[in-house]
Amino acid sequence: MKLVYFAWVRERVGKTDEQVEVPDGVLTVADLVRWLKGRGEEYEHAFENEGIVRAAIDHVHAKPEARITGAREIAFFPPMTGG
């Protein structure tokens, strides 16, 4: 599964994207965030306020409780400021 990061989430994680193998039991976006936070300080920092960071599964906005099974690409980013 490919993870991609944008804006200050990208800066805190320190990479634009990465390929990960998530363990069994990581079923939702929230599970994935919890698992990532266990992987190092940079993730801890990026997701320190879980209510702020948004997610998208395969280019569609996703809530924390959304299932990630079968997803090709999951993105994490701050609230959007385009327009």
């Binding site: 804006a7 998208a56 959007m80």
Partner: protein
């Protein structure tokens, strides 16, 4: 319906976009064009840097546009959103909504802008005149509230 969505680094030409929306037609009675421009924030700002999520930006704006199309009797819709480095006074975003009557065109353009602000995957960062890279622009609660007035969000 004429339906154009583009994400690009280059400036856009509002007159050409409008002509391609309305040219050769006589059923359109109203066109609302919204242009969003880069402000210099009282001289503080040297440029805005716009980061975006390629692929999702097009897809999400397409979903927002499809939602607008189900809500209003539109005869044409054009959305152009730039990314990259944008200087004060330069254009960031263009929304064109065409309809037989003005109310649909006004409402659809306002709806599209509210959703672009809160749902399209773009992030602005300030580059300051003193040469430093400023902060990422924070999302405004007012934009969320503006979006909520339209009721149910597009999927």
């Amino acid at each position: 319906m004429a339906f154009t969505i583009r994400i690009q680094a280059e400036p856009f030409d509002t007159a050409a976009e409008t002509a391609s929306l309305t040219g050769g037609r006589a059923d359109i009675g109203a066109v609302v064009a919204f242009t969003g421009l880069c402000r210099d924030e009282g001289g503080r700002l040297a440029a805005l840097e716009l980061e975006h999520y390629p692929g999702m930006a097009e897809a999400e704006i397409g979903r927002i546009a499809a939602q607008a199309e189900t809500r209003w009797p539109l005869l044409g819709l054009t959305i152009v959103h730039r990314f990259g480095r944008i200087l004060p006074g330069d254009e960031i975003v263009l929304v064109l909504a065409a309809s037989a009557h003005r109310q649909a065109a006004f409402e659809a353009a306002a709806f599209l802008m509210d959703y672009l602000k809160t749902h399209a995957p773009f992030w602005k960062r300030e580059h300051l005149k003193d040469g430093t890279v400023g902060a990422w622009v924070e999302a405004k609660e007012a934009d969320d509230r503006a979006t909520e007035r339209w009721g149910h969000a597009p999927a």
